[in-house]
């Protein structure tokens, strides 16, 4: 029982990160039909930049803030110089562009930072909290709280502000949105910026637990995508649910089946969803008009 609870805690923690990556994916996908593979790199940049700014002497809160701003800038760059320039390209071309961007960012991180693993001090100390025979790290609670706050803030932004309405309009029908005067470039740019910021925050929160290094982005992007597929591409609720579920599946698979193949779970989920239930839990199936 204690073991079971332990897996739930670790599954929820890492699931919260997958959910944040998945939300970032969904924001960008809904606004622009682009599957942004560099999403994982945003998470990596958040953590790594904070770490190295810390080494450089900046107080950690300031380092974190600068890291988030920097990553946001990277997200905007990605949109304006890569995606917007390739406007009109088909889905596969766009996804390969973002893959290229992710490899580029990873290669840059390799050089600017280094190839080792790095950590950050946890927010509330590292004394585990005992609960029902299992132990949960305070940082895990911080991750879960952070994820809830971010999702809530995002929901308020999308649902309650005029700008948020513009984002919804853009997601629904880009041409119509333009016709009513919405500047798509601004909307999509903001979505990229938001996704990057969310990713960066996720990276900073998770680093004290899972450590970070130049190449953690790739696997995160793939798992985030698995979460999106599970939840249903285009659905924000699906992104969150998919992320949490994936984290739980992973934790249970690692615990009860094989720790070595933990990373394979995400891919098996992708393949299973694509074959059995392509629209995911909350997505809608699309029809091709001839």
């Amino acid at each position: 029982m204690a073991e079971f609870l332990q897996f739930i805690f670790s599954g929820l923690t890492v699931g919260a990160i997958y959910a944040l990556v998945a939300i970032g994916f969904t924001l960008i996908y809904n606004a622009s039909d682009v599957v942004n593979f560099a999403q994982g790199e945003f998470v990596m940049l958040g953590g790594m930049t904070t770490v190295f700014l810390g080494y450089a002497g900046l107080p950690l809160p300031l380092a974190a803030l600068v890291a988030i701003l920097f990553t946001t800038a990277v997200g905007l760059f990605l949109y304006y110089f890569a995606i917007k320039t390739a406007r009109g390209a088909d889905a596969v071309t766009l996804i390969i562009i973002t893959i290229g961007a992710s490899i580029f960012l990873r290669g840059a991180a390799e050089i600017v930072f280094d190839k080792r693993f790095h950590s950050l001090p946890p927010l509330f100390g590292d004394a585990p909290i005992r609960f029902g025979g299992a132990a949960i790290l305070p940082q895990s609670l911080a991750v879960l709280a952070g994820a809830v706050v971010i999702v809530a803030l995002l929901w308020v932004f999308i649902d309650r502000t005029l700008f948020g309405k513009a984002v919804i309009a853009t997601s629904a029908n880009r041409t119509a949105a333009r016709l009513v005067g919405i500047d798509i470039r601004v909307i999509v740019g903001v979505c990229f910026a938001l996704s990057a910021a969310i990713g960066a925050v996720a990276g900073i929160l998770i680093t004290p637990i899972t450590l970070t290094s130049y190449n953690t982005g790739t696997l995160l992007a793939l798992k985030g995508f698995a979460a999106v597929m599970l939840g249903g591409i285009g659905s924000a609720l699906g992104a969150v649910v998919g992320g949490v579920l994936l984290g739980l599946f992973e934790a249970f698979a690692a615990g009860y089946i094989s720790a070595e193949y933990k990373d394979a779970v995400a891919f098996l989920v992708i393949l299973a969803v694509l074959f059995a239930m392509p629209q995911g839990l909350f997505g809608k199936a699309t029809v091709e008009r001839v």
Partner: protein
């Protein structure tokens, strides 16, 4: 303009015409008396060109996408490694078994995967490739794990295939053979059907093409090409690691196809040459290899999605586009 266009099409009419410059290059290079180092590079170029041609058949002609093709290279590579070392199967048979195994895996996995389209297909193939790489890295008892394993030499009728120059001829001739098969296919009923599938699956089906079967067939063919290339790669190096089947390698293959030109067999060689030679030529840029790959991939897809060879061909024939 139309007249110039027709003249261009005329000498382009024979399907194997592009073999001439390719064969010429093959024969010309050794005349420069290169050292073993350059022979090795050239061999690598031809080896990756074989994989690229196969992927090009799938992507450039049939209009599908595979972001996990290095997985098949890995299957071919580990077949020639594990066969002799762990199962006592001679390298030549292991090579054949690797190719057949890749064909089988492609057949089984391809059937469901090719029902997908666009980014779903892209991610499914990506996932498949990474899964294979994970298996190769984890099953250390068979594969030597993340550090890899040595690969025994291939002996052809008591004649050991070693030495960069030998591998140059083996890979060059294999490339010419694989290019010939690809060029043959293009100018054939199957080839036309595949090219049609790329543009409109619905119209192809309505006209009587069994789209699902054709896609599966070309997926299997391209997997075999990759497997052969992977086996050569392992035998040439005498060593193999899971990286050979990893995500970065799969993206490199896609970059080669797109860079050289989707739908161009010559382009596959050009793309392979660029992506193999550039890192070697700029050795002091070795650290920047990944940044360069990322930058190249992005730039090509943004600015020149048709690739080098088709863009050049269009410019030469005076077409405006």
């Amino acid at each position: 303009m139309l007249a110039r266009f027709h003249r261009f099409r005329l000498w382009q009419r024979h399907r194997l015409i592009s073999l001439v410059p390719l064969a010429a290059i093959t024969l010309f290079l050794p005349l420069l008396s290169p050292s073993a180092y350059y022979y090795r590079i050239a061999a690598l170029v031809f080896i990756f060109a074989i994989a690229s041609v196969g992927l090009n058949l799938l992507m450039g002609f049939a209009g599908q996408v595979s972001l996990g093709h290095a997985g098949f290279m890995g299957l071919g590579a580990y077949a020639v490694a594990i066969g002799p070392a762990q199962l006592g199967i001679p390298p030549l048979f292991s090579f054949a078994i690797g190719a057949m195994l890749s064909a089988l895996v492609a057949f089984v996995v391809g059937r469901p995967i090719l029902r997908l389209k666009g980014h779903y297909l892209a991610v499914a193939t990506l996932g498949f490739g990474v899964l294979l790489a994970i298996v190769f890295a984890n099953e250390a008892n068979w594969t030597g794990g993340p550090d890899g394993m040595t690969v025994a030499q291939l002996t052809l009728l008591n004649w050991p295939l070693r030495g960069a120059d030998t591998w140059y001829w083996v890979s060059a001739i294999s490339f010419l053979v694989s290019a010939t098969l690809a060029l043959n296919l293009i100018d054939s009923p199957t080839g036309r059907a595949l090219r049609a599938i790329r543009d409109s699956e619905i119209a192809a089906r309505v006209i009587g093409v069994d789209v699902a079967q054709k896609k599966l067939m070309i997926f299997v063919v391209s997997a075999v090409y990759a497997s052969v290339a992977g086996s050569y790669f392992a035998l040439l190096n005498g060593y193999i690691t899971p990286d050979a089947s990893g995500f970065l390698r799969s993206i490199e293959l896609v970059a080669m196809v797109v860079l050289g030109g989707m739908g161009s067999v010559t382009g596959s060689l050009v793309g392979s040459a660029l992506l193999v030679i550039l890192p070697q030529a700029l050795t002091f840029f070795h650290d920047y290899e990944h940044m360069a790959l990322g930058l190249i991939t992005m730039s090509v897809m943004i600015f020149m999605p048709r690739g080098i060879v088709p863009s050049l061909a269009a410019a030469l024939s005076g077409r405006a586009k």
